[in-house]
Amino acid sequence: MNSVTVPQTPASGSPLRRFSNLLYRRPNLYLSLLLVPPLLWFGAIYLGSLLTLLWQGFYTFDDFTMAVTPDLTLANFTALFQPSNFDIILRTLSMAIVVSIASAIVAFPIAYYMARYTSGKTKAFFYIAVMMPMWASYIVKAYAWTLLLAKGGVAQWFVQHLGLEPVLQLVLGIPGVGGSTLSTSHLGRFMVFVYIWLPFMILPIQASLERLPPSLLQASADLGAKPRQTFMQVILPLSIPGIAAGSIFTFSLTLGDFIVPQLVGPPGYFIGSMVYAQQGAIGNMPMAAAFTLVPIVLIAIYLSIVKRLGAFDAL
């Protein structure tokens, strides 16, 4: 038999080689080298500053001197339940819910078409078309919408030419929905929110539908299900994780937004614009901190509801 000489691995090589050998023998060291920097950043800078901010919610704000003193109190958090503040929370929360539902309804057909009927270049076109609005500045888009929806704007022009002005006036007359014009109505604000967050809803739904094997749909039809039944029994339940993921975006982004509520819609604060006003114009950092806690709590509640509905079971 021929003897084959195996080249011996040199015990010592270049320092780089020795270092990589060390990492290979010590996988834990390797992992900690990878994870410690981002965890430090996340833990110290991100979570640390958030907790510091929330801690300031317990500080006392003197209305007369406008001074913040570190005397701990629950007054700021109880103040959240005063009618004027609680209104802000309710207004923001209901908008977030309605925007999430509407985004899901609008996004689903687009996502379904992308996942089931496009491939290659058409699919790439749809990806770009969905994501391109996100390349433009968000403030510019919100401003553009104020013009589109303004009195004498493009939206009104279309409504006039379609002869639907009475319908528009009727809708704008509904309390809680309407306003004097489209751009100062709740409806207008809702439309802008849905427009801006739509890509965040389309992409997760599309991804969940993409994972659906075609044979499942064929099996459903084969077993006698009409297309509507296949949709209700197979497609929709299996796309729930995608809808849930998308709604987490739309819900939390709406809760925290402070620009769209300032530019479009009737006067009145949202949680985000309230934080902005308290912290900036008024200098009441403790109250701003207390308001900051609201979306965090709401999103935590929302996630637990979504989880209880089993949306993450298929992940």
């Binding site: 039809a221 077993l223 299900a225």
Partner: protein, 345 residues
């Protein structure tokens, strides 16, 4: 006798490619019928045409006498067992099986009862509460079978259902499927690329090649009397001899096939009905129940010889590669092949 499924001149074209090309088949009611062929031969497309997932480009498909072309899958009295099983991951086993009854509006207690019966039939009673991911491949296979059979279809389509199972389980399922088919008396149409599977289970087999049918026959005939070179080589192994050698050996230029197990090593005087060739023993493969020898003939062609390993044969007379050797076969074992035959029945 009524026909379960009848294809008349059916073609299915995908762009330039003819996946199914002028196929005509008559499948009898209650028959175990296999569509056998290599991948891309059109057998699966034929199955999908029956199920309604594809529509024929031309031709007519009748299911129990009624024209099916144009009907969607949910209006056909056939059910399919899918290659990947296609179980609904968000439903438990019982709901999967009861699905077909649910969408047809069968009441809850009735469909529960029938689904449980179907699960019992495939020996999965008591598994109803489990999710498909908690089952093994063989168990998923049985759930898929129960889910199709619970609807009491008159025709059951099986798309390579055993392909993902290991050999032992596959052989066991072959036996069970065959038993189930006999017991239920419904038509099974079975797609496979595995010729032993097709031969052992089917009443009749259609051999597909390039979108066309080469031969439709009972397994025994298919093996003993293959009509074309393709069938001879695809079903079992064959020595196809053509050209000058064919003329020299049979006195006829028509190609013929000789099965390896019909060739034996020369011993004693040559009988009048026998044909003898000689060559160099090129390779010997021990296969357990048999040994396969490769003989290189003078014209360069390889002749495969298969000899059963029988205990009482003299093992001391083992052959060596490189050895010059003569082999012979009976004239009647030669099967003339007709390559100009075009498919269809």
């Amino acid at each position: 006798m009524t026909l379960a499924v009848q294809f008349s001149n059916v073609s299915r074209q995908f762009g330039e490619v003819k996946a199914v090309d002028r196929v005509s088949i008559d499948i009898q009611d209650g028959e175990f019928f296999s569509l056998l062929g290599p991948s891309g031969s059109g057998k699966t497309t034929c199955l999908r045409l029956i199920a309604g997932f594809e529509q024929p480009s031309t031709g007519s498909i009748r299911i129990h006498g009624a024209e099916a072309a144009g009907l969607p899958p949910y209006q056909r009295d056939v059910n399919t067992v899918f290659q990947d099983y296609a179980l609904f991951p968000h439903m438990n086993v019982l709901d999967n099986v009861a699905y077909g009854l649910k969408v047809k509006g069968v009441g809850k207690s009735e469909r529960q009862k029938r689904a449980e019966e179907a699960l019992d039939m495939v020996a999965l009673g008591g598994y109803g509460e489990r999710k498909p991911v908690q089952l093994s491949g063989g168990q998923r296979q049985r759930v898929a079978l129960a889910r199709a059979l619970v609807n009491r279809p008159r025709v059951l389509l099986l798309d390579e259902p055993l392909g993902a199972l290991d050999l032992k389980l596959r052989e066991q399922m072959q036996g069970e499927l065959k038993k189930l088919q006999r017991q239920l008396g419904i038509t099974f149409i079975f797609v496979t690329h595995d010729q032993t599977e097709a031969l052992s289970m089917s009443d009749r087999v259609a051999v597909f090649n390039k979108g066309r049918i080469e031969q439709v026959d009972a397994p025994r005939h298919l093996y003993m009397k293959p009509a074309t070179t393709f069938v001879a080589e695809f079903v079992g192994t064959s020595n196809v001899i053509r050209g000058d050698l064919a003329r020299q050996l049979s006195g006829n230029p028509q190609p013929f096939s000789i099965r390896p197990e019909h060739v034996r090593f020369a011993e004693g005087p040559l009988a009048s009905h026998e044909i003898e060739v000689s060559g160099l023993l090129h390779d010997i493969q021990y296969q357990g129940s048999a040994t396969r020898y490769e003989l290189k003939l003078e014209n360069g062609q390889t002749l495969n010889i298969s000899q059963a390993n029988v205990q009482w044969l003299d093992v001391s007379k083992q052959h060596q590669t490189g050895q010059r050797i003569s082999a012979r076969w009976a004239r009647e074992a030669m099967i003339p092949l007709h390559d100009n035959v075009v498919g269809g029945a």
